[in-house]
Each structure stands twice: as C-alpha cells, then as structure tokens.
Symmetry: C2
Subunit: 141 residues, 2 copies
C-alpha cells in the first residue's frame, strides 16, 4: 500500500525477507516491460532458475502489486496480467480483439474528467482503469 521506490525497500518496511527467488523474479519482471500472465513469467523465469515454483512466481507478483511496483490488468478472457508501474505514472490500454496487441496510452484530459466524475458522485477516487477494445491497423477487416 505504501510506495517505496524499490522492492528491497518494500521488503524491509514490511519485515519480509530477501531471497534469491524473489530477486530473480523481480529483476526479470521489471527489466522486461511486458504484460505478463503468471504462467508466462513462470515459464521465462524457468530459464534463469528451473527450481523456482509456480506458486512463488504468483506470490511475488502479488507482493509487487502491494509494493506499488506492479498492477493487475484484466483485459478479457478472465486472465490476469501484471505490468510494471513507473513512479507516479499512469496509463490506460488499447487492446486489439484479434491479435491481442496491447498499446499503452496516456491522456490527461480523460484523467481530469474522471476525477471530476468521481467528485460529482461524492466518491474518493482510489484507482481507475480504462480499456479500449478494437482492431489494430493490421487486423482491421
């Protein structure tokens, strides 16, 4: 819930331990800027250390979310994807319904309007997700 800058800082704040599994998973995840499913990250991390278990990958991703270093995205099909978050940054997504391509976009005007809408309904805004579904130039019929 807090937002320290590093995963190590988060572990310390929470009294959690630093392990080589966590280090491997986190550094690989943060280095690649991809929208990982647990399974995808698990498979790729296997190349670094084949002994790392699926559950550990899943748990570590949850820790990253709690640390404010990742967010969960559910675009369609009920599969959760995790993406890394840069300090103070927010973006939304365009998703191609055919090829699955994911494009990130930022739009301050939309953000401002969302804040306004929340205010009008007497809501304290905590988070917001905006997903546009469509067809990319390559997949258009």
């Amino acid at each position: 819930m807090s937002s320290p800058k590093t995963f190590q800082g988060y572990l310390q704040d929470k009294g959690l331990k630093s392990t080589h599994q966590r280090d491997d998973i986190v550094s690989y995840f943060l280095q690649k800027s991809k929208h990982f499913t647990v399974k995808e990250l698990y498979r790729e991390v296997q190349n670094i250390d084949p002994k790392i278990g699926y559950a550990t990958v899943h748990r570590t991703l949850k820790l990253l979310v709690d640390a404010g270093l990742a967010t969960e995205c559910r675009f369609s099909g009920g599969i959760t994807r995790f993406e890394s978050v840069k300090e103070g940054e927010h973006h939304d997504h365009l998703v191609c319904l055919k090829c699955g391509k994911i494009i990130e976009f930022e739009n301050d005007k939309i953000e401002q309007l969302q804040i306004k809408v929340a205010k009008e309904h007497n809501f304290t805004l905590a988070d917001h997700k905006c997903v546009l579904y469509g067809y990319c130039s390559g997949c258009r019929e």
Copy 2:
C-alpha cells in the same frame, strides 16, 4: 453481434428456439436493472421455476450478450457480472471498494476523447470500458 431490439427477434434471426426457460430468465433479467452474477440470477430465477438449471441461466446470459441486450462487467475479484443494455446507450461505472456499490455514469466528453485516442493509434474502436474505483460517501474513512 447484430442488434435487434428484442430477444425474440434475436432468436428468430439466429434460428434458435423460444423456450419457457429462456423467456423466464430473460424477462426477469431485463425487468430488474441490476448487475447480476450468474449465481445471483440463478438463485432468483429459482423462485419462478425451480427446475431451471444453472447451465441454462449461464447460456441464456451469453445469448443476451450476443444479442446486444447485455454486457459483461468484471470489476474485481474475477467475478463476471451481467447488466442489461438499453438501445444505443453506453455508460461506465464507479465502484466502491468497500461496500461494493456500483454507480453508473455517462460522460460524453470522455467518450469523445476515447474515440480520438483510438484514432490516433489507428485503431477501429469496438468497445470500451472505464471503471473508477474509490470510496463512496458512506464508506470514506
């Protein structure tokens, strides 16, 4: 995928059959304007006809989506909710993270900006979902 005005019309267009189960489920669903999970609708429809099965409720909701008379919403927790759609109308949602209250809102400016964003990225927009998470006036700490 097409958008006829009635469920009966949809069934005819698709060569599907009209059954009393479908009638019961659809008329109950459309009459209540709620964000139903399959389980919730199943339980409530049991009061009308206890013989209706879970699978039929699920299948009928999927038909309603295909008919353009309902949409699926996934707010959090991986549970799919279905809500009825009025002709030519679109709205987005404000969700309270504490009590789960769901408020619908419409904002043309946001819609217009979304269309613009899609165009800028050379996307043909098919659908869009915007969810604001926060705390309603009653749940604010």
